[in-house]
Symmetry: C2
Subunit: 456 residues, 2 copies
Amino acid sequence: MPISPNTDDLALQTQSKLGDLLAAMESGTFKQVQKMLNGLQPAAIAHLLDSSPPQRRIILWRLVDKELEGEVLQELSHDVQAQILARMESSEVAAITEDLSADDVADILQHLPDQVIQEVLAAMSHQNRQRVESVLSYDEDTAGGLMDTDVITVRPDLTLDVVLRYLRRHESLPDSTYSLMVVNRRDIFLGILPLTRLLTSDPNMTVREVMDTNVVVLHPDMKDSDVASLFERNDWVMAPVIEENGRLLGRVTIDDVVDVIREDADHSLMSLAGLEDDADTFASVTRASPRRAIWLGINLLTAIIASSVINLFQDTIDKVVALAVLMPIVASMGGVAGSQTLTVVIRGMALGHIGRNNLTWLLSREFQVGAINGLLWAVVMGIIAAVWFEDITIAWIIAAAMVINLIFAALAGALLPIVLKGLRIDPALAGGVALTTVTDVVGFFAFLGLATYFYT
Amino acid sequence: MPISPNTDDLALQTQSKLGDLLAAMESGTFKQVQKMLNGLQPAAIAHLLDSSPPQRRIILWRLVDKELEGEVLQELSHDVQAQILARMESSEVAAITEDLSADDVADILQHLPDQVIQEVLAAMSHQNRQRVESVLSYDEDTAGGLMDTDVITVRPDLTLDVVLRYLRRHESLPDSTYSLMVVNRRDIFLGILPLTRLLTSDPNMTVREVMDTNVVVLHPDMKDSDVASLFERNDWVMAPVIEENGRLLGRVTIDDVVDVIREDADHSLMSLAGLEDDADTFASVTRASPRRAIWLGINLLTAIIASSVINLFQDTIDKVVALAVLMPIVASMGGVAGSQTLTVVIRGMALGHIGRNNLTWLLSREFQVGAINGLLWAVVMGIIAAVWFEDITIAWIIAAAMVINLIFAALAGALLPIVLKGLRIDPALAGGVALTTVTDVVGFFAFLGLATYFYT
């Protein structure tokens, strides 16, 4: 019978499975917990582990069947995977990764210390070791690091009938085989033979006659985010990886690319808050604090810079204390307007939309949006300030300061990510902090500067 | 010859293609521009259009060959697609979507007014209309809305040999056919027959003997984000969609799921800045301003709330003007600490990690991280304040206020998204604003309140 997942929220489902497991754990029937856990798909077990605080995670992991461990491990998020691997002997790692494909094993090993990698490799069979080593020789963030070397190749001069008989001699084909690779006797890549075409063509024709040669290939040193863009734009499920000289090395498949897409998309979100992309949701206090503390420290520095601007105007504030009440509004509006522009630009850059050709247009648009929205809310805020403090001068001052700050915010939001990228600093990581510094300093300076001019 | 993309940055490549096109456009050789443009893959043309400001986009679109228009249209981002469709007659829409699969046509039509949808459907062939209508009858954000109805089905009692001969009678198989669907004579779904298994099994066996019945199926009303989680976790490339009664409706394929994954991931990032997920990077001023203006208005309201807290303490500030200098620091540190927690929780919820079972653990962790980091930077800031203003009292006050605000920030960052979700308000959209309101109000109140107590 086909299995039908509940149509309810999947997250709720994980949570209710977790609830059942916890209830069973508390009532002490470990045998039952074990049975429930190992009855799930490896991906579901991995999701349960990802959704558990550290101690519960260790208990659950101990209950996973030996033969499922490799598959579960591979499905875990990187951070959680690393924590579990850190507690294992190299021989154990070698044993549980035995049945995984080379790219998945390499993916797991990449997060271990060199010493352990060598021990794990030494404990592997010769053939497996060679395959894993070939993937490990490429950087993790490249097509080579994503690649699977387990491919079925055929020669161009065979007839399809021979190919069909050759395939039938296999017990099964490697996972994610949607096409066969066509190579000559020196392993030079010539084209692909999609299984659908093999099945619909006349068996007396040769591979050469039906193969698809109009294929975009990847080089092993291509960046994984570029690989992901190509897959996403062209709706691919597989792409061959070849060396400079045309020799076939392996293939990249969509299941690994989906992970790259998810990680890349996560990156902007997490970096803007100064967090690591692949952070464990349930990282312990000692693991979560340091990175966040550094980020708070950097923010403290920029906040002090903004405060020293206010410090310049102590005399003015002393005279008109209402300024202290209103000044955070100017800074806050600038911060929000700037972060809108910043987010649009960072996303546009990640999608490859923004370059030299359209930068002027973008800056002019942001300038106009900043000016229009600045004017709109400056008028509103001016009226509010006039009524609140019964003072027309303060109304004009805050309105003018808001227009100035919103225009600066728009330009800074658009230019900062481009400048930071030019300096090879990650705009998603540094952009937010740099932006708030600009909008705070400009906001306080414009507001208090104008006030000093008009009140003294 | 296999085509090899440049190993340089892909974004740069689009930008340089765009540069070449613009140069050609300026030198007036439209024929050449047209040739360059239409020599590209439809996805690459779509990317160029996505990367162009409105006016240039209209010119480029006019230069696209008629027979490529449908494919290019389908690859465009939704917002840009809608802009182009708005300028077309319904007969044109019907003509250019003729060769697309039902799910892609439905995807395009969903963004049009009802009147136009009816006209486009009326202009279609009977068979196409039926297919598109069946997809359109489901909500866009469900498995039914993602589904493609063009599937190859086989009966369980056939031998594989018969299946192979049946397939060979096809000119070609539908795009993304990796498995055949096995159904009985009432179209009830029984299992799938992967092409790889068809190719490796004995041709004399029956479909029933080799088919895979251990298949997770989707219901048409399942949420698209849940469909995406299932594909992502289980490394699927295809899943069947069946009715409650077991009848096969169609299938969802990975190419459409990748778009959902990208959009879901974009959603948190864009919403946190009050922007639309699928916004056009090059939206015109009149399109970009209103949404952002609303967001700025909401922020103005919350900033005024924070300011009215300061207003309560005018007398204290009047006495010690240094308070005005330091108070933004307390608010800013709370905002950053809170947004770190908020981001971790929003992402954890999106990944389905967080539920009732681990909420207490999470709150306790965030409380501890907030307290530790609060204490750390409170000490640092206290020393700085003592030296800066030569005042020990103000040092104690700012240190205490920072610890209080960072603990509140951590708890608010963790609880707000969960409370908002319970109220069916999107946490990614409302979380950031709600959080800053809390951290500003608590920050100003704690700092100025303590100051009032100690200085008056």
